[in-house]
């Protein structure tokens, strides 16, 4: 099926080239980091995880979001999603690829990466995260590929795939739960030390993932002969609407607990993010923007009139995606490190090389996504004609 | 199925030509260097090492297995907090690359590096463990 990704028009190859250039720039920056060390990033002794781990966390969510098309189709036999499940699965593959790359570029000694396998340590959540992420990648590759191939050959997908599909549904919940457990089980970090973290992660995932999927469907409709469908997009929009409401609700639960209990170790992180602490407040405008975007998203998505207008829907999806990205990709990780366990306030901002590497990883992910989507759309066009 | 067959017959000569080029390139270093083996390195011992006559294990063993020995040493010291090594002839040594090995073999450039360069290996031991440049001329 890969040959389908080789046949494309000028625009397609132009896009691929642009992504390759991005990957190249990122790779060059990574070589600098490999030589110098992680000191070229904005991370510090106090904020020891930064942009990379934040993007990783956000993208695990995008990957888990793919389950929002898999579940209705396979579990509830919601036929309309037959057209888009493959898009959800392939989005998950691309997102997990980026996650693994982000972990890799975050390691101080990447050459020793396989120590995690050589000395398996079940008491470390990172060990389990490695298992669930690779497992989810494997499941989606096997399921996506075989279902697509069956569709191409006009046959039903093999029956042995069925159990894997059912496993992949709770597995998707698992990847983001385990990723939340990386943070919420650490005794000295009040910001993360909350049982609502995993549910909150999942809610934002089920908003960001399908929102991105809607945008991708619209692009596919525009640049190819395959239309993912109006009904499909509307169903996805409803999913985004509920998920973003839940995300904000969970966040408000956290805000209530923190500010009503008034326990300083929990309160200070939110204070830093939304009001600034000890005169340091670089994330404040971002966090309020994120809140505003999510609220706008809710208004546009819950109201049927605005949701059904596809032009408005694009705006709604963009606001939800941007809002959740700031929330998780900027605030969630830095917020946990500021103030430090000793209550020092050290701020963090990514550096230029750090951003270049990040964009390189995104480039690689979108390259994988483009090739996979090109294949999927190729098959869909073939089958239709 | 049919597609694939046609594909094979049509492209047979290209595939074979490609394979030949690949094998030629892949084996290039072997036939390019054949018959021109570089001479083995000459290793110098420090006075201290000469006087000691034997290392913690016999020379032949050390030559072939010192990396495995060091791996066991570091594991033993760091993880099991055992720091003393008693060799088969009953002699005890403190297991320490910095303080035992490199104390005697203080001429890293003439001892360690020569062989490592010849074998084209770059152990990262020396990123942290420092040679004692006491006797370097």
């Amino acid at each position: 099926m890969l040959e389908l990704a080789l046949k494309g028009n000028k625009k397609y190859y132009g896009w691929i080239t642009a992504l390759l250039v991005l990957v190249g720039i990122g790779f060059g920056a990574y070589l600098t980091q490999l030589g110098f060390g992680l000191g070229i990033t904005g991370m510090s002794r106090d904020v020891s995880w930064g942009f990379y781990i934040a993007q990783f966390t956000f993208l695990v969510g995008v990957a888990a979001g793919g389950v929002m098309v898999v579940l209705p189709y396979y579990l509830h036999d919601y036929k309309a999603f037959a057209k888009v499940t493959i898009l959800g699965e392939f989005l998950a593959i691309a997102a997990i690829t980026m996650c693994l790359l982000f972990i890799l570029v975050d390691l101080g000694q990447p050459m020793r990466m396989f120590n995690v396998l050589l000395y398996p340590t079940p008491n470390s959540v990172l060990f389990w995260d490695m298992i669930v992420l690779n497992g989810y990648l494997f499941l989606n590759i096997v399921i996506g590929w075989n279902v697509l191939e069956a569709e191409r050959n006009n046959v039903h997908y093999p029956m042995w795939l069925k159990p894997l599909i059912y496993i992949s549904i709770p597995w998707a919940v698992g990847i983001h739960t385990v990723t939340a457990y990386l943070y919420c089980g650490l005794p000295g970090r009040g910001f993360w030390l909350t049982a609502i973290l995993a549910p909150r992660f999942l809610a934002s995932a089920f908003a960001a993932g399908p929102a991105l999927l809607i945008l991708l469907c619209m692009i596919i409709r525009k640049v190819t002969n395959f239309d993912p469908g109006k009904e499909q997009i509307q169903s996805l929009a409803k999913i985004v609407a509920y998920a973003i409401c839940l995300n904000v609700f969970f966040f408000l639960c956290e805000v209530f607990v923190v500010f009503y209990s008034q326990i300083p170790e929990h309160m200070d992180h939110l204070k830093y993010l939304f009001f600034g602490l000890q005169g340091k407040s670089s994330l404040v405008p971002w966090m309020w923007t994120s809140m505003a975007l999510m609220v706008v998203g809710i208004i546009l998505l819950v109201n049927p009139v605005t949701r059904k207008n596809e032009n408005v829907l694009v705006v709604a999806c963009l606001t939800v995606f941007a809002g959740t990205w700031i929330d998780k990709g900027l605030g969630m990780i830095s917020g946990g490190f500021v103030p430090s366990p000793l209550h020092h306030v050290t701020e963090y901002a990514p550096t230029v090389p750090e951003i270049m590497i990040t964009l390189g990883v995104y480039g690689a992910g979108f390259l994988v996504l483009t090739i996979l989507y090109k294949m999927a759309v190729g098959v869909k066009e073939e089958v239709r004609s | 199925m049919n597609d694939k067959k046609i594909f094979l017959i049509k492209d047979k000569k290209y595939i074979i030509a490609g394979l030949v080029v690949f094998i030629a390139l892949f084996t290039f270093p072997f036939w390019y260097n054949s018959g021109k083996a570089a001479p083995g390195p000459e290793i110098k011992l420090t006075e201290k090492a000469k006087a000691a006559k034997e290392c913690v294990m016999p020379t032949a063993y050390m030559r072939a297995e010192h990396m495995q020995l060091l791996d066991i040493w570091r594991h033993s010291v760091v993880r099991n907090s055992d720091n003393t090594y008693v060799n088969p002839s009953g002699k005890a040594f403190t297991m320490s690359l910095s303080n035992t090995c490199l104390d005697c073999h203080s001429n890293k450039a003439d001892f360690c590096d020569k062989c490592h360069d010849y074998a084209s290996v770059r152990p990262y031991c020396f990123d942290c463990h420092i040679d004692n440049p006491k006797e370097i001329k």
Partner: protein
């Protein structure tokens, strides 16, 4: 003898994972050929022993920053701790903090004059229940069963920094770049570190192994006392018995082994 040979064998078994079976079997075969496999790995004769090492800091004896200075510089000197240019890349094993930062969860509005003004030495607490050990995905940081020291295996650390997120005491530092250019005078008896690994206080495990007290304790003028927490006769226990002590963030259940007399 018997038990240490067994330990040697298990250890080689562990090493098999790392370096492939063949060379290890060669080592064993060679060892055996020398006569009854008589290689022995053991502790040095003078090694200090304890069930759980612990430290008591008598803050009553601290008056000014210069009282802590010798401890910090002794530690950082013998362990080749670099002095980095920027605060972001800072590496420290033992350092001074004001009471508010050392004990951010036990701040009284009105502190004693003394607590308000003297610097408190802080270091790795070598917790009895260390969250960093729980977090490490490679067992590069581990709690020594022998004496409870929370150790770092710099050879194994992959630099994921999960331990830094897990430590509630900010005791860990990361080598954001090659530390060597920033070490003024290298102590050749102790290794430096390479970029990309985490480091922290090791309760001077390398000194305990040869019968010496930790470097900071030795130069502390009686401010620091070091001993076995579970030996009722130890100097540490004597101090704990006769003085009221506090520990950093006791409520987290990490069971720090550094006690402060205030």
């Amino acid at each position: 003898m018997e038990s240490s040979r067994r330990r040697f064998l298990t250890m080689t078994g562990v090493a098999v994972l790392g370096i492939g079976a063949k060379p290890v079997l060669d080592v064993l075969a060679a060892g055996q050929a020398e006569g009854a496999g008589s290689v022995e790995l053991k502790k040095g004769d003078g090694a200090l022993k304890a069930k759980q090492w612990a430290m008591v800091v008598d803050t009553r004896k601290i008056n000014k920053a210069s009282d802590l200075e010798p401890m910090i510089s002794a530690c950082h000197k013998i362990h080749n701790v670099p002095k980095m240019e920027t605060k972001n890349h800072e590496i420290k094993w033992i350092w001074e903090e004001e009471y508010h930062y050392a004990f951010p969860t036990e701040i009284n509005k009105f502190l004693s004059e003394h607590a308000e003004h003297v610097p408190f030495p802080v270091l790795c607490n070598h917790c009895e229940n260390p969250p960093c050990v729980r977090a490490c995905p490679t067992k590069a940081t581990f709690k020594r069963e022998l004496d409870g020291i929370v150790m770092m295996d710099f050879h194994r650390c992959i630099g994921c920094r999960f331990c830094m997120a897990a430590c509630p005491y900010g005791a860990r530092s990361f080598n954001f770049r090659d530390p060597r250019p920033f070490i003024k005078e290298t102590n050749k008896e102790y290794p430096t570190r390479m970029k990309g690994v985490v480091e922290k206080c090791n309760y001077c495990a390398e000194r305990i192994a040869i019968g010496k007290m930790p470097a900071c304790v030795e130069v502390s003028n009686g401010i620091l006392t070091f001993g076995d927490l579970y030996d009722p006769q130890s100097a540490v226990r004597a101090l704990l018995k006769s003085n009221f002590t506090i520990r950093r963030k006791q409520s987290l259940g990490t069971e720090p082994t550094v006690y402060y007399i205030v």
